[in-house]
Amino acid sequence: MTPADHAARYPEVWRKFSPRQTVVRYIWFAGIVFVAAWSLRHLEIPWEYFLDAHEQVADLVVRMYPPAWDHFGQILDPLLETIHIATLGTIVTFGISLPIAIISARNTTPNVVTWFIGRFILVASRSINTVVWALIFVAIFGPGPMAGIWAVAFRSIGFMGKLIAEAIEEVDAGAVEAIEATGASRLQVLMIGVLPQVLPVIYGTTVYRWDINIRESTVLGFVGAGGIGIQLYSSINQFQWDEVSVMLLSVFGVVVVSEWISATVREKIT
């Protein structure tokens, strides 16, 4: 072995990355930091507001304590309404999302046009936040829980439709082929060959989305679409912080319980 070979095989300095890799990595790091710093700078944030933030927080906490528990009687109905909005919205979605998932899945869509329409519905539904959907439906149905239900449903279609469509694209193609070979119609192939295979996914995502929707419907009232958000918003604007803390604690309780229910149910059905 020549000294050169030896040096090549047993270098004195061992590095995990080659010089080229190192440079590329540093460029990535620098790029990320630069983008973040530039964004922050360009936002022109008045940092002096930030200076007394700790005082403001302390002030808030002091005013929130003790919570005005006698107020709880008045928020019970809005709290139930929040849950109803989430549940009814999820039920509506449960009905709508399957057909949309079917036209959005490459293996079940009738043609390219329907596939494109399905995909567009999914993207549009998911891009627009529940609160923005609520703005739209408040303009249509007027303020109230009806707007909230449709807002929740329209946002959830994209979420559930996407997950169900992915499940449909992954079904066992052999079973579908076998059902086709019996001379079954297209609808029958969907019902017997595809649907049973994706049913667990449909149930699972429905329960999962229900628990997300509970969380979402707590803020629908900010734009007038019903639920606890209406009272929360007005209490905050009237600086009734002791009432706000009661509502925040109740929301916390409801969200934690619904998350637990959803996790338990999903564990049972899968």
Binding site: I32, V33, V35, A36, S39, L40, H42, L43, E44, I45, P46, W47, Y49, F50, A53, Q56, V57, L60, D77, L80, E81, H84, I85, T87, L88, V123, A124, R126, S127, I128, N129, V131, V132, L135, I136, V138, A139, I140, F141, G142, G144, P145, M146, R215, E216, T218, V219, F222, V223, G226, L232, Y233, I236, L248, V251, F252, V255, V256
Partner: protein, 270 residues
């Protein structure tokens, strides 16, 4: 086998076994579901007269949305840029701050009290919807992008740190023990045994969070926390539906790009 087959005539009726075996339980569940539907629909305070007007209103609104009005593009661009900047900056700050919190929330490497405090922080900030956080921050630091930035930072930190903590708890402890057995300090264990196992997923989660932040940055403005949401909610108040449509289309496009980018990067990381 053949005896029983000849003794009893072959049945001509068959019903698939139900998911819930006992009929009493099955009917009880249906009854409960029906009762809930009746109760929740009755409990909602829906102004049916107003809802009935909704359908002509929806038609009217859609008519006014088209064609979308992009003429005030300067306002649109300013809002969108602010949203995106908030998302970038918040994702970066979030991914940095999430590391210590995530480590603290990993039960298998941290002492119990630290773990409990970190977990409580994560649960607290995860429960509340971004819009609730946003309005609290608006009250603390005033209107503008700073409140939105802080909201997204809190949401990102809790999300990313929860993922980090779960990854660390699920990682292979054998590798940690092996490195510890060499006499390495905690910091060295971190770098040699934990970081290599967790890093790829961590980067994936950060990119996913950037995508989520872009989506959320479009709504925090509705309560005054900066970004395009502020402009959007103003257009709804002024019935400027053609401009609303322009903003909504821009948001859909933006989210689509964000999702595409996020999927692309996560594909590369794998």
């Amino acid at each position: 086998m053949t005896d029983t087959a000849t003794a009893t005539p072959t049945p001509t009726r068959w019903k698939p076994p139900s998911m819930i075996e006992r009929p009493a339980v099955r009917y009880a569940l249906w009854a409960v579901a029906a009762a809930y539907l009746v109760w929740s629909m009755g409990a909602l305070e829906v102004d049916w007269g107003r809802v009935a007007q909704g359908f002509p209103r929806a038609g009217n609104m859609v008519a006014r949305m088209f064609p979308p009005d992009f003429s005030r593009w300067d306002l649109l661009v300013r809002g969108v840029v602010e949203s995106v900047e908030m998302a970038f900056a918040a994702s970066f700050i979030g991914m940095v701050l999430a590391v210590p919190l995530g480590l603290c929330a990993a039960g298998n490497i941290m002492p119990r009290p630290v773990y409990l405090v970190a977990r409580t922080l994560i649960v607290l900030s995860r429960t509340f919807h971004e819009v609730i956080l946003a309005i609290l921050f608006v009250k603390i630091v005033g209107f503008g992008p700073l409140a939105g930035l802080l909201t997204l930072v809190v949401a990102s930190v809790s999300f990313i740190s929860k993922m980090i903590a779960e990854d660390i708890e699920n990682m292979n402890m054998g590798q940690v023990e092996a490195v510890r057995a060499t006499g390495a300090s905690f910091a060295k264990v971190l770098v040699y045994a934990i970081q290599p196992q967790v890093l790829p997923r961590y980067l994936g989660v950060c990119i996913y969070r950037l995508d989520a932040n872009i989506r959320h940055s479009t709504v925090v403005g509705i309560v005054g926390a900066g970004g395009i949401g502020m402009t959007l909610s103003a257009t709804f108040k002024r019935y400027d539906y053609d401009f609303s449509m322009a903003i909504l289309l821009t948001i859909i496009g933006l989210v689509f790009i964000g999702e595409f980018f996020s999927n692309w990067v996560r594909g590369k990381l794998r």
